[in-house]
């Protein structure tokens, strides 16, 4: 069959799955007084539509920041405004100031779900198409494409829980694709837009920076490299300025927006997150022992230390392969070590891991499954158990079968050969890490996830430990993330400097 029809069939399949999930409940459905993320998005439409721009981020009589105040960058606000205009056309009650608070209805749910679908269709899916067909090698293009589309974490958060991650992640993916195709200026433009949609994209910013800087170095900072650097810098500054245009008139405005975007006062972590601090908190109550400032410094230092190796390597060798790995390593390090992390932020490392599905099938599938699993408590809270089970099964089944993941776990396929050669001269017994990623461990881990999911649903936790299951889920996922962070770092760093890969030729 022709490519276009297979692609359309895959897209239609992905869209059907998405819409089917969206028929389910959303976060905070029927739970006054605060509701959930769904109400937050609706509230932002109400605020942006009815209030002048300079009141959006300020606490005023008409804008109570304690009730889902706007805490995302300006592009999110503009997007809300756009949606609000459409909503106003359909039913003015949906965005009426004050009166619409907590509005829930069948029609409104359909409208909100449709806005997610439209955004996905316009931004994320085209980026995935381009990536799979232009930047991934081999005969597996269509299969990789289908697997990326079916990644359950993103579907469940966007179409179940309710958020617009497909926009920020989609824009970041556009950045990767365009950079991969060699258009550096456009790539940085796309990434800046994504950063201005959701500040969490900072997790990806260092690899983008290092990749572009590394390319400038390579071309020689005295000549063409400098020119490129200036071009990119101007693009970034102009894009930022355009996004923030309405707020530029008053420095107070800028400070307030920045203050809203980075709420330092909210503590090291909230709820149960599968990162270092939450897991460490089981042993040592760091959250209560240390002051907020100390926590901030510790997390900053560890994060920097964790991303340093991959960033330096990328700076030395700015190739697409290194870039993808650095994106994973950086965002995962941020997720594991930085301050104020949400469980949903695991989607940020999940995106670049999706891009590795073709090259490193087993670790990528393993990571993606663990990332979906780590959000289980959230899904249970939102009433998304059945879609969680079904989409996870579908993803596991399709990706393992289509990518023949279990047949590709030799050391060479896992890109651990160079690492092994390095190790021969160092202590031998540390080499066991390369044996960790194998079929049996994978089966064991998936079974454990299934078991923990079952226990979370079916068993009542003991009275003195009400959070037992969410905590177990977090710690179990954390171990996966930590192990895979180590693995991806090894793969990235151990790649010998002289090896020239096919896609690098294409991209450079």
């Amino acid at each position: 069959m022709e490519n276009w029809s297979l692609v359309s069939i895959c897209v239609l399949f992905g869209l059907t799955a998405r819409w089917a999930v969206s028929l389910n409940s959303y976060s905070g459905a029927g739970k006054p007084p605060m509701f959930g993320d769904y109400e937050a998005q609706r509230h932002w439409q109400e605020v942006t539509y009815n209030l002048p721009v300079h009141e959006w981020y300020f606490n005023t009589t008409d804008n109570n920041l304690n009730y889902w105040g706007l805490d995302y960058p300006p592009l999110t606000a503009y997007h809300s405004l756009l949606c609000a205009h459409v909503a106003k056309l359909i039913n003015p009650d949906w965005v009426e100031l004050h009166a619409s608070r907590g509005h829930e209805s069948y029609g409104h749910k359909l409208f909100m779900r449709a806005t997610v679908l439209v955004a996905d269709l316009l931004i994320y899916i085209p980026a995935v198409v381009l990536y799979s067909f232009y930047l991934s090698e081999g005969s597996n293009k269509k299969k990789v494409f289908l697997c990326i589309l079916l990644y359950p974490g993103l579907i469940l958060i966007d179409y179940g829980h309710f958020q617009y991650n497909s926009i920020s992640l989609g824009l970041a993916l556009w950045g990767v694709v365009v950079l991969g195709l060699g258009w550096d200026v456009l790539g940085s433009l796309a990434f800046v837009l994504s950063l201005n949609y959701k500040q969490m994209e900072l997790y990806h910013s260092l690899p983008f920076f290092c990749y572009l800087l590394g390319k400038c170095f390579k071309q020689g900072l005295a000549g063409r490299g400098l020119f490129l650097l200036v071009k990119i810098a101007v693009t970034v500054l102009v894009t930022f300025a355009l996004c923030w245009l309405p707020f530029l008139s008053d420095p107070g405005q800028i400070l307030q927006v920045v203050h809203r975007l980075f709420p330092v006062g909210r503590g090291l972590f909230e709820d149960k997150v599968a990162n270092t601090w939450c897991s460490l908190n089981v042993l040592i109550k760091i959250k209560t022992i240390l002051s907020t400032d100390t926590q901030l410094y510790i997390s900053l230092t560890t994060t920097l230390l964790a991303i340093l190796p991959s960033s330096i390597k990328l700076l030395m060798k700015p190739t697409l392969w290194q870039f993808k790995l650095a994106l994973v390593n950086s965002s995962l390090a941020f997720f594991l070590f930085s301050f104020q992390v949400h469980e949903k932020s695991i989607l940020l490392p999940a995106l670049p891991v999706c891009l590795l599905l073709n090259d490193l099938p087993l670790p990528a599938i393993w990571f993606l499954q663990a990332s979906t699993f780590s959000m289980l408590p959230l899904f249970l809270k939102d009433g998304l158990l059945v879609p969680y089970v079904v989409t996870s099964l579908a993803f596991l089944f399709f990706s393992i079968y289509l990518l023949s993941a279990l047949e590709h776990c030799s050391e060479d396929k896992l890109r651990l050969g160079p690492y092994r050669r390095l190790l021969i001269c160092i202590v031998r017994r540390y080499g066991y890490l390369s044996n960790c990623i194998n079929k049996d461990h994978f089966y064991f881990s998936i079974t454990a996830m299934a078991g923990l999911s079952f226990m979370s649903v079916a068993l009542a936790p003991p009275a003195q430990l009400p959070d037992l299951f969410p905590l177990l889920v977090s710690v179990f996922s954390y171990l996966h993330f930590l192990g895979l962070l180590l693995y991806f770092n090894i793969v990235q760093i151990a790649e010998p400097p002289q090896s020239v890969r096919k896609n690098q030729k294409k991209s450079n």
Partner: protein, 544 residues
């Protein structure tokens, strides 16, 4: 396995050497499991968020309750709910066995008085029961795929006829929405039908006959295709030899075979209807099975000849009133304005009675049945005749449901992957037939689901069949007609609801859909007939 292998290949006359090792083959199970799991998981995702329920949902819940809580003698007398048991006894026993599982989910659904009872456990059980009984369908499709003629040449798995057939059947849009979104057990029933067809294709006629008899006792709508079965078995199974010109050799009649067939039919019938005959309830059961009190057409006109007939009548009456030839007061009051077109009375054209529809149906299938009597063309000729019977009864039957089109579409899929001409007719028939199912799902939330699934299936069927037969399968007129469906959809579901006529004449979208689709279905029926008779002609020609 080895036995099967030899048998299948001797029947479909392919030298076994064509199956090479390493080449994609129907005997690999991986691809098949992927197709099945894909569709099962998709349906589960769909129903997980889907908590609305159709009348058929309540119908089947009521039957579960009746068979579970009442003695057999009261099954066909119970009428607390308006949805009385109107399927044959074997289906009642099927519901009875399901109810034993159901009681572990929620006992309340098994109480006859609990009308419209829908607890989450009930919904879960009902939906899961459809998915689980679909195993029959999955097995039957696998058997059909084994019986398909294979041509050598294509190496790509996606280009093999058996793969295309499996995808067309498992992912059939109509079956998906009627079973898993609307709610019925068609997958189970069509599974038995396809298995029976596959057995005939494999030359295991007694098994095929047994399966079909069981099917008839599960749902009597399959009586419409019984003529094809009856004549085929009588002609090609009970007569063991033909004359050289292909006509029947009377001396080759085998009474043993007839007795074998007869005993199968009678024993299954006795098992099913016997208890009710013994209790003297046969008239009551039959009156439930064949309710002629319903109207000529269903609330939403199925796209058949009568839809066109109604339309012509309506147009003539409107024209008559405009031209002052008719008096408005004298016209029978049509209830069309209510949105539901339940009891439609014809004002100009003569009214149609059940017996007329029966005669029309019989006349329409007669040539096809006669053709397999005079010139039998093996199991494939029988299959074609079966499709004609199904489609003929759909075109002319009394109170036809739009869902009945599946009876023609599903068996026709097998022919479509084997011949170029059939593939063209298949595309016309399925696309219009499937589109005509759209009114089954009418809420706004279902709109994207049905459109996406329909696009998925239609796109796949077009591209795969086009690839298989290397070239375009439809002429420009047919293509234009099918593209017109897009316009009809936009008009009916987007433009019309925004217009002022939505309140005064809400029935127009259904009317337009029905009439437009009936044109396509009629056209496919005629083309199918032409292909059948032309084959008949060429056979005769060869003999001369």
């Amino acid at each position: 396995m080895c036995y099967l292998y030899v048998e299948v290949h001797s029947v479909i006359s392919i030298p076994p050497r064509l199956i090479h090792r390493g080449q994609a083959s129907v005997y690999d199970t991986g691809w098949y499991i992927v197709l099945c799991c894909g569709v099962v998981l998709l349906t589960m995702t769909v129903f997980s968020g889907y908590f609305s329920h159709s009348t058929d949902f309540e119908v089947h819940r009521n039957w579960l309750a009746i068979t579970h809580s009442l003695p057999v003698s009261k099954w066909y007398h119970e009428n607390t709910s308006e949805w009385t048991l109107d399927y044959p006894p074997l289906f009642a026993w099927f519901e009875y066995s399901l109810s034993h599982v159901a009681q572990h989910f929620d006992k309340e659904m098994l109480v006859v008085q609990n009308l419209l009872y829908t607890s989450p456990a009930t919904i879960l059980f009902q939906r899961l029961s459809v998915i689980v009984t679909d195993i029959v369908f999955i097995y039957a499709v696998k058997e059909c795929c084994r019986s398909v003629r294979e041509e050598k040449g294509s190496k790509d798995l996606l280009g093999h006829p058996f793969f295309i057939l499996a995808a067309l059947l498992l992912w059939n849009f109509g079956l998906l929405i009627v079973d898993h979104i609307h709610f019925q057990y068609n997958g189970f029933l069509f599974g038995i039908l396809l298995l029976s067809v596959a057995r005939h294709l494999q030359g295991r006629h007694l098994e095929g006959a047994l399966l079909f008899t069981v099917l008839l006792n599960l749902k009597h709508i399959y009586l419409y295709i019984a003529p094809a079965y009856g004549i085929f078995l009588l002609r090609s199974y009970c007569f063991t030899e033909d004359n050289t010109d292909g006509s029947v050799r009377w001396s080759s009649f085998s009474p043993v075979r007839l007795v074998a067939l007869g005993s199968i039919v009678i024993s299954v019938g006795a098992l099913s209807f016997g208890p009710f005959i013994a209790m003297g309830q046969l008239p009551q059961v039959l009156s439930r099975l064949f309710p002629f009190k319903r109207g000529l057409c269903h609330a939403y006109w199925a796209p058949n000849v009568w839809a066109l007939y109604n339309m012509v009548d309506k147009a003539l009456s409107v024209l008559g009133v405009r031209l002052k030839l008719l008096d408005v007061a004298k016209l029978p009051k049509a209830s069309m304005t209510g949105g539901l077109v339940q009891e439609f009375q014809h004002s100009i054209l003569p009214s149609v009675s059940p017996s007329i529809t029966l005669i029309c149906t019989l006349l329409s299938i007669m040539p096809a049945v006669l053709s397999i009597w005079c010139r039998p063309r093996g199991a494939r000729g029988f299959l074609r005749c079966l499709v004609v019977c199904a489609l003929g009864s759909f075109m002319f039957g009394w109170h036809v449901h739009e869902k009945a089109i599946l009876m023609a579409i599903l068996p026709f899929s097998i022919l479509a992957v084997e011949s170029r001409e059939d593939a063209g007719i298949f595309l016309m028939l399925t696309t219009t037939g499937h589109y005509s199912l759209f009114p089954l799902l009418f809420t706004a939330a279902e709109l994207p689901i049905k459109v996406l699934l329909m696009l998925l299936f239609t796109l796949y069927s077009f591209t795969s069949l086009k690839k298989l037969f290397r070239g375009s399968l439809l002429n420009p007129l047919e293509t234009t007609y099918l593209l017109g469906l897009v316009a009809v959809e936009i008009l009916c579901e987007v433009v019309y609801p925004l217009s002022p006529w939505q309140h005064t004449m809400p029935f127009v979208p259904l009317l337009v859909t029905s009439v437009y689709c009936s044109l396509g279905v009629c056209y496919s029926f005629i083309r199918l007939y032409v292909s059948l008779l032309r084959q008949h002609g060429t056979d005769k020609h060869k003999q001369l």
